[in-house]
């Protein structure tokens, strides 16, 4: 490679590494940001943090070795370090996605088999000295590991909805650009390309990897929380109750079956009082039985249905948010909390004066249906 190309290539290698560490750090941040919600599926951020952090460290070391290291001993050391780093990245990624909560997405037994093969290959790569065998093992690990991760990523996209799906698709596009360029541009391939072609590949490789990285970074920036798959199918109805006035001030139906019948039933005054009064009555009885006034009911099971409850906070503790569901899911509880926050954010200024808008609540809170739909689209 000409010196001018080498000089041009050299600084960009470090920029690639810096962006990779930033992506990795941001994935760690996303993991810790959503950790408190106890949605285990968000560990995927951790998997990507390891993949980008260790993976790119290995790739960059390999690239530096290929273009700039002439000493044989030093070169061997660089290759070993590079393999250790890439192996750690792949193994940690597979280890995380082989946890049981990914079973809904992929058969984790296959993931564990791939993990086992990856560990074996990594050990073999590290201990053998035969160059031909070494290259074959690397090829096998690339094909198995790479294809499996690609397959996992595609499954993840297929199962996701809304904004998450679009974001994951962009991440995949960024990843494909990166993988393609890494395979052909990280090392020199004298048997495949002439010197001139190799120079052009080298010249273009870093800007293209940076482009791929930026696509990934932009896609994961402010990435929404990962909710369990199919959570939307388990929600039936949402009610917001004003405990002081024993009144449903807002309701949203998530199912379209018998919609008219449901609306007319729910709009009736008797339904209002029975539902809101029922919840409050139950609250009082349970408080008396358990002798605890502070804590509120969080869940009521009735046959095959469940009512999840969430109490308003501070100045809005007279509001109770209820969601009728088929199955208790951490994701649905999270969505209920999100709905509570959005409702308070939008209507906080007028909620203290609900008496002034008596009988006009349905008109005033109508716009909130759109916000609920947006929450569904995002997640």
């Amino acid at each position: 490679m000409g010196n001018e190309f080498k000089d041009f290539h050299y600084p960009f290698i470090f920029i690639v590494l810096i962006i990779a560490y930033q992506i990795s750090a941001y994935c760690f941040y996303l993991y810790f940001r959503y950790k408190k919600e106890k949605l285990k599926i968000n560990n995927i951020s951790l998997a990507f943090a390891f993949l980008y952090g260790f993976g790119f460290t290995g790739i960059v070391i390999r690239s530096i070795n290929s273009y700039y290291i002439d000493d044989l001993l030093l070169s061997n050391l660089f290759i070993k370090i590079s393999h250790i780093s890439i192996s750690i990245a792949v193994i940690l990624f597979l280890l995380i996605i082989s946890q049981k909560y990914y079973n809904e997405l992929i058969d984790i037994r296959i993931t564990r088999i791939v993990l086992f093969i990856s560990v074996m290959i990594s050990i073999l790569i590290f201990i053998i000295n035969d160059i031909a065998l070494f290259e074959i093992l690397i090829l096998i690990s690339l094909v198995i590991g790479g294809l499996y991760m690609l397959f996992f990523h595609i499954l993840l996209i297929q199962k996701s909805t809304g904004t998450i799906r679009n974001r994951l698709l962009s991440v995949l596009i960024g990843d494909i650009i990166i993988i393609f360029i890494v395979v052909i541009g990280t090392e020199r391939h004298p048997y495949l390309f002439s010197s001139d072609v190799q120079d052009i590949i080298t010249l273009l490789s870093n800007p293209l990897v940076i482009l791929g990285q930026l696509i990934v970074f932009y896609s994961i920036y402010d990435f929404p929380i990962f909710l369990e798959f199919n959570w939307q199918e388990n929600i039936l109805n949402l009610y917001i109750l004003d405990i002081n006035r024993l009144k449903i001030i807002f309701q949203h139906n998530f199912i379209k079956v018998n919609e008219e019948e449901l609306i007319s039933k729910q709009n009736s005054k008797s339904h209002n009082i029975i539902f809101s009064g029922g919840i409050i009555g139950m609250e009082k009885i349970v408080s008396a039985m358990t002798k605890s006034k502070e804590s509120k009911i969080e869940k009521i099971r009735q046959g095959e249905y469940l009512i999840l409850l969430n109490q308003g906070e501070n100045d809005f503790n007279f509001l109770t948010y209820c969601i009728l569901v088929k199955k208790d899911m951490v994701s649905i509880r999270y969505v209920l909390k999100l709905i509570k926050n959005e409702f308070t954010k939008l209507y906080g200024s007028i909620l203290q004066d609900l008496k002034l808008i008596e009988d006009k609540e349905s008109q005033i809170f109508l716009e909130f249906n759109q916000i609920i739909e947006d929450i569904f689209k995002t997640n």
Binding site: Y10, Q22, Y347, I350, I364
Partner: protein, 362 residues
Amino acid sequence: MIFDKIEFPLDGPIADVLLVIEWIIVFIYLEFALVFLNRTLKFKKELKSLQEKGYVFLFLGFSLMWIFFIIGDYYMISLDLRYICLNCGYVSLMLGCVIFFYTIEKNKIFLKRYLFTLIFTLDIILFILIIFIDIYSGQLITFTFWIIFLLFFIFYSIELGSIFKSNPILGNYKFQYLKLVLGIIFLIFGFGLTIDFIIDLFGLISRVIGDLLQIGAIIFLFLFFISIPSFLEYDWQKKVENIYIIHKSGLLIYEKSFIGEDDDQYDSSISGKITSLKMMLEHISKKEDISVIEKKGKIIIIQPGHYIYGVLICKVKLNSLQILLNNFIEKIEVIYSKILEKWDGDLKVLRPIDKIVKDYFI
């Protein structure tokens, strides 16, 4: 001390390290500019985005300057070409800064409107004139730039301090100041260590230290800019005198005075006057849009919504006030759209608007 003049283009092991560090500087500046650009586009309806638009140009200016420096110092064989590149770098930075000052001063007055923008524009003109006369003296006269830059941030800090003092909810301003002060000191010292005269004295190692200081400076400044509140969110309070909400039928829905004057006759007649005014304006322009009427010492902003007009009477014309009024009208219409669509004149249901006003304007 080393008194050997450094040869350009830079070469050797330290130059290789420097090249990497300086590309990293370019990248970080560019990245932070993109972060602010993204925030500006994403939150374009928020007041803070008006201020953050300025940061985009500031960071972009620095990034461009470093690209020119790298080209000049590492790839230009002729000394003249090197100086052309360096001067292009300085001009890029100055243009970035002037747009930054303009964006900030558009919404915030320091002593006099557009004072720093004007001084800096004159400085750029002076700089360009001087480098046309003597291409080599560009670097020497950049100190004027740093003086203006420093002065601007002194005023900026004073104003910021007063916002923090009057709004204790914003938290500890000393910590924010620390980030700004460290950022500016690192930036100026770092830059000083990279100029030719200092490199000739202390060798390339001073440039390495200078570059590293500048990386620290960029991070401190970025953290400062991203965490400080916007002037615009607090500064307009003293500038608003009255607010009115008028239904498009001509009826006054809400009014509030921030100056303590209470003139009932004036208030009750204003809705009719404004509705007529708005109708006339719309007749002229043939479309419904924001109207700003300027009179000496008074500005009237009329923001139409679907069902209502929002009217602000204020002392100065600030972009931030227009955005604030627009957001306020939007919020009322989101909450009351169905009521306002077929409004029967019932004011009781609209009484909670007072709380929305407090959320936005007090």
